[in-house]
């Protein structure tokens, strides 16, 4: 309840002084508090068995009882996700540019990329863990594998939307291919690339979690699996909440970066 009233007072001040992001944050907090109350109330009033849906307070209490496991798992999974995401994003953009410049390369390799995406991650996961050992790197590789394709496709799409007349104009002023890329083509493709990065942010988390299922000792995926084997539904929901926090947090950061970098807001 105290969280609710705090959110309300922030809301009132927010409208007076800072109408922008503070009010949005306050509304978000209010939404979260309402959702939490509905969850807690529904479970109590409808008498839902803890086996299906435990009370939120029970889950939070369980998380508070062993914070170490959740914090360690959160940080470990975050590291795997970030490394895979960064590598996948960079590789995707580079390959997208290469495909854009070299049509032959694109026609030779692109179909293979498409087929590679139909391979179930988890089957691949067993092999990657074998190749790279049971390390942080192996999970990052799986996250990378899930991420790069989307970024490649959207980079290519974005580069192809560049207006040929603008290219002709810049060329007539003697722009080098390098300048053309940095000043015109990449900025034009940026909105498309960010759409892919937002998608990739959740995909890289999936990769990290699934990768951890092949045997590890820390991580949110490990917590999920351990809770399943011990039929510990409260722990399972705790791990789910932690992954939701990680997933939405990461997505929000990418979306914020998008608003900052693509300030002209070409898409959405």
């Amino acid at each position: 309840m105290s969280a609710g009233s705090a959110a309300l007072s922030v809301d009132q001040r927010g409208t007076a002084i800072l109408p922008g992001w503070l009010r949005k944050t306050a509304r978000l907090l209010l939404g979260l508090v309402i959702a939490a109350l509905v969850w807690e109330g529904a479970v109590r009033l409808l008498g839902i068995k803890p086996y299906y849906l435990p009370r939120l307070s029970a889950i939070l209490a369980a998380m508070a009882a062993t914070p170490r496991a959740y914090v360690d798992g959160f940080l470990r999974t975050l590291a795997e996700t970030l490394i895979g995401f960064a590598a996948g994003g960079a590789f995707g953009v580079l390959i997208g540019i290469a495909f854009f410049r070299l049509r032959a390369l694109r026609e030779m390799i692109f179909p293979i990329f498409v087929v590679s995406q139909t391979i179930p991650v988890i089957a691949f996961g067993a092999l990657v863990v074998l190749w790279f050992g049971n390390t942080l790197l192996a999970k990052a590789v799986i996250a990378f594998y899930l991420t790069f394709f989307q970024v490649t496709v959207n980079t290519l799409l974005g580069l192809e939307t560049v207006d040929p007349k603008q290219v002709a104009l810049m060329k007539s002023f003697g722009a080098s291919p390098h300048q053309l890329l940095l000043r015109l083509q990449l900025p034009t493709a940026l909105p498309h690339i960010f759409v892919a990065l937002r998608l990739a942010s959740s995909l890289s988390l999936v990769g990290a979690i699934v990768g951890e299922w092949f045997g590890d000792t820390t991580g949110l995926g490990v917590l999920l699996l351990q809770a399943m084997y011990t039929e510990n539904v409260v722990g399972l929901w705790g791990a789910l909440l932690a992954s939701a926090l990680l997933g939405t947090g990461f997505y929000a950061v990418i979306a914020a970066a998008e608003r900052r970098l693509v300030f002209w807001g070409a898409e959405q």
């Binding site: 995406q117 179930p120 991650v121 067993a126 039929e231 791990a239």
Partner: protein, 253 residues
């Protein structure tokens, strides 16, 4: 993409085939030339031989997985479309369904696998539920985007001629939404097979995921790769089937 390949079929197809052949040759050469052990990388020929040798087992497993994927996929599409149409017909529901769907989707879908396995057991039901969950959200979002794309003036025109909500939905909104809806359905095909396999690996009585898991435990990596090949072929044919239906239904594009 389609337009580009249609415009210049011979060269693009040639290069695609060339790329595939080069990949297979490099793979085969690397595996044979360096005598890589099968747990690192088996040769393509060995894998294809493995597929042929274990065709009964792999065929049965693929059938099992495809059944789960198909049933879950149909259910998921149905749920996604019905929810999106319900929101359009009753705008009051939007404020409830949209935040709920976003909240559920904030956890990566495979995160739910352990929970769904506990709830529904390790039989077919849990895989169907997982696939339906994964598919319904994508289809829901793309259908909603499609239904919202309708031209305001076209709605007003139809109202002016006395069309009811159902009439507008059936004759205007659904046809307008169809391209986006079908592309959402096409993208979800590959996902449905992957999610079925992922869930099978955590616990199942059969299916490709189960075969892969057993093969990993027995350190039989030729069989892992064989199952991967079969899984990839199954997803591609499912994808192709829906793509084919899409072109048939969208005859006007």
């Amino acid at each position: 993409m389609n337009v580009a390949t249609l415009a210049s079929p011979p060269l693009a197809v040639q290069r695609g085939v060339l790329g595939a052949i080069l990949l297979v040759l490099c793979w085969e050469g690397l595996a044979r030339g360096l005598h890589l052990p099968s747990y690192i990388l088996p040769a393509v020929s060995d894998i294809l031989a493995g597929v042929w040798f274990k065709r009964a087992l792999l065929g049965e497993a693929a059938g099992y997985t495809l059944l789960e994927a198909l049933v879950g996929y149909s259910l998921g599409c149905l749920i996604g479309i019905v929810l999106a149409v319900a929101i359009t017909m009753l705008p009051a529901l939007r404020g409830v369904i949209l935040p709920a769907a976003t909240a559920i989707n904030s956890v990566p879908v495979v995160g739910y696998s352990p929970l769904i396995l506990l709830w529904f057991g390790i039989g077919v039901a849990s895989k169907i539920v997982m696939v339906a969950m994964a598919v319904s959200f994508t289809v829901f979002l793309s259908t909603l985007a499609g239904l919202d794309r309708v031209d305001r003036r076209a709605v007003d025109l139809m109202r002016g001629f006395g069309a009811g909500r159902l009439g507008i939905l059936w004759r205007l909104r659904l046809p307008t939404a169809l391209p986006l809806l079908l592309s959402g359905m096409r993208v979800s095909t590959v996902r449905s097979v992957i999610v079925a396999i992922v869930t099978e690996m955590l616990g199942a009585y059969g299916g490709l995921g189960w075969v892969i898991y057993q093969a990993v435990l027995q350190i039989d990596f030729v069989q892992v790769w064989s199952a991967i090949f079969v899984a990839s072929a199954a997803s591609l044919s499912f994808f192709g089937l829906i793509g084919f239906l899409e072109r048939k239904i969208l005859f006007w594009t």
